[in-house]
């Protein structure tokens, strides 16, 4: 079969089973799809679709980061936007106050996110579940105030908000200006991010978190240093959050604290829940889906000529649709899009059987 996807029944060695594309023709399919995708998208789509695509790619970076800490390590993080904000404002600050070049700013922004991530992880050593979620929320609020103050400081020092523009991003000598060039750049960066996290899930870290997800106490007694793993998870989430925020700032040429509110944190959480908790592909699906639909709503309103009546309410309507999406998925599809996809694949893989039975043969 040309589209024979990864089947758990076809591996013949551990290496094969944990490989990136387990035994199948999937590898070829994937590369083919990727090539087609990359080549066509920038040229076939309209400007708005391209900008959505770009924004989705940025979101993917943030989402995979969150997936590591909340999906894989199962530590509720309600403050993801704080990581993004840190990245965003540190970058802005680096530019205005220290005049650093972009290629230096991006890593620094990401690392600052990582450091905040690490700090967020510390409460995780003492708290669980809901309590932990609230501490991440607390950090979000605190960082929010800090960034607000910093934003005001920068504004008074260097001009009004509109003047806080970051320069064009220059990577390897190329100025990234057009949507298309952003697309390629972001594709590379988000591709690397996804690849990194996917590899994480295949590594010791992935196995450790899988154990911790099931029963933390047992994982600890098996020798897994739960504390270190949690800290790592938060640090990684912070890194990608910071990277996401930094890139977002460069993309929009400025940073504003409203872009990093609690709503945004929840949006990212919704992304990984809607996409599928715990699987890397889930973060991708979720990011694209949420960004896409939010944008779609705006488009429908403006294209449908309803700008007059509904215009000022756009934000409200977007929020409404977003909330309804969350609710629908939470109730009807708790495994998310990735879950649906797995079921579909499973159905075709096992057809005409309905399931694999594990009933013991009776004596």
């Amino acid at each position: 079969m040309a589209f024979s996807y990864r089947s758990p029944y076809l591996s013949t060695s551990y290496q094969q089973d944990s490989g990136l594309f387990a035994p199948s023709i999937k590898r070829i399919n994937f590369i083919m799809l990727l090539v087609v995708f990359i080549a066509l998208v920038p040229y076939v789509s309209s400007a708005s679709i391209l900008s959505v695509a770009n924004f989705s790619l940025i979101a993917i970076i943030g989402a995979v980061g969150l997936q590591v800490v909340t999906g894989m390590a199962s530590q509720l993080s309600l403050g993801h936007a704080a990581f993004m904000a840190t990245g965003a404002f540190v970058s802005t600050g680096m530019f205005f106050q220290l005049n650093l070049p972009p290629w230096l700013i991006i890593p620094i922004g990401s690392i600052s996110g990582m450091m905040l991530g690490f700090i967020s992880g510390i409460p995780a050593l003492r708290l669980r579940g809901f309590y932990l979620g609230i501490t991440t929320l607390a950090l979000q609020a605190i960082v929010g105030v800090a960034c607000l103050k910093y934003q005001v400081f920068l504004q008074t020092r260097y001009g009004t908000t509109t003047d806080l523009l970051l320069p064009q991003l220059r990577v390897l000598g190329v100025t990234i200006e057009s949507s298309a060039s952003w697309f390629f750049f972001l594709l590379v960066v988000s591709g690397l991010s996804v690849f990194f996290v996917k590899n994480l899930s295949r590594s010791q870290f992935g196995r450790d978190t899988a154990a911790m997800r099931q029963r933390e106490v047992v994982a600890e007694s098996l020798g897994i240093n739960v504390a270190i793993v949690k800290l790592r998870a938060f640090a990684i989430a912070g890194f990608f959050g910071g990277l996401c925020g930094t890139l977002q700032t460069f993309f929009f040429r400025q940073a504003s604290i409203e872009d990093f509110s609690l709503t945004v944190s929840v949006k990212y959480l919704a992304m990984i829940m809607i996409g599928g908790l715990g699987v890397v592909s889930g973060a991708v699906y979720g990011a694209v889906f949420v960004t896409g639909t939010t944008f779609l709503v705006g488009e429908i309103i403006s294209r449908g000529g309803l700008t007059e009546t509904l215009g000022p309410k756009t934000r409200g309507i977007e929020l409404l649709i977003f909330a309804m999406m969350m609710i629908v998925f939470l109730i009807f599809e708790p495994d998310g899009i990735a879950g649906v996809w797995t079921r579909v694949k499973g159905y075709f893989q096992l057809w005409p059987y309905r399931y694999v039975s594990t009933t013991r043969v009776k004596r």
């Binding site: 509720l76 501490t135 607390a138 609020a141 929840v266 000022p312 409200g316 109730i331």
Partner: protein, 255 residues
């Protein structure tokens, strides 16, 4: 326990302004009744279907409900903010040389105290309240012993919404009503956690502590940082006492 606090903090209410005392009572009564119905509805359609799923899902669901309400409010009254004018704003008395207390300044603390006391008595002394605690601890055992879990959940949510309504109305008398009330509601979360999530007794000291620190910050540092104060207190307290100041430590496996 958990659900009632989540609900309590996450449902902002917004209203227009009545002006006379009579109208006020009527509005209040209406909102309370409406609140109960609304709370039951939320429970039935949004929370109940999720019973048995992970905590994360339920938290996200309440957040989704929050956004839903915020969105609806935003759509119906876009960008509006109002003020609930109460009669008797001018009545007051001189408490000391520098302090002049107006009658309506006393409203929040009095209302707050009454509500707190009512909740305390309900949860600690009444049979129904004890049942809620039992369900919060081990719902499977409660079900076996004939306690109707869905009823308990519905009651918790109804209480949460009503308290939310009261809170919203009280806030409305003190400051501007707008969607930013959500921020205040979130601060309520910190109070709940600092006090201890399963402890009603803890709420009062926690609230006083946080409020005092907030005001002190406004006075001596600045207003913006005071927004962060409740959260800073939360972090400090939770690091020292993970279950809150008055929480009972057996929360161990409540993930």
């Amino acid at each position: 326990m958990l659900t009632s606090f989540i609900g309590l903090q996450l449902l902002p209410q917004n209203f227009d302004s009545p002006t006379s005392f009579g109208k006020l009572l009527l509005t209040f009564a209406l909102m309370t009744v409406g609140g109960i119905i609304f709370g039951l509805g939320v429970y039935r359609y949004f929370i109940q279907p999720l019973s048995g799923t992970s905590r994360i899902s339920i938290v996200l669901m309440t957040l989704a409900a929050l956004f839903l309400l915020e969105a609806v409010v935003d759509i119906i009254w876009p960008g509006e903010s109002g003020f609930m004018a109460l009669p008797g704003t001018s009545i007051g008395f001189q408490a000391s040389d520098t302090v002049y207390i107006r009658l309506f300044d006393l409203l929040p603390p009095v209302v707050g105290f009454v509500v707190w006391l009512a909740l305390l008595l309900f949860y600690r002394l009444s049979r129904q309240g004890i049942r809620v605690q039992a369900v919060a601890e081990k719902s499977s055992l409660a079900a076996r012993r004939g306690i109707n879990i869905d009823h308990i959940g519905a009651v918790s949510w109804a209480i949460a919404v009503v308290v939310g309504v009261i809170a919203g109305m009280t806030i409305g008398t003190q400051s501007v009503v707008s969607t930013l009330i959500v921020g205040t509601a979130l601060k309520g979360f910190t109070v709940a956690l600092v006090g201890g999530l399963d402890s009603i007794e803890g709420i009062l000291p926690a609230a006083l502590l946080i409020a005092a620190l907030e005001v002190a910050t406004v006075r001596w540092i600045d207003q913006q940082w005071s927004e962060a104060v409740p959260y800073i207190v939360l972090l400090v307290v939770l690091m020292i006492k993970p279950w809150g100041l008055f929480g009972r430590t057996e929360e161990l496996e409540r993930v």
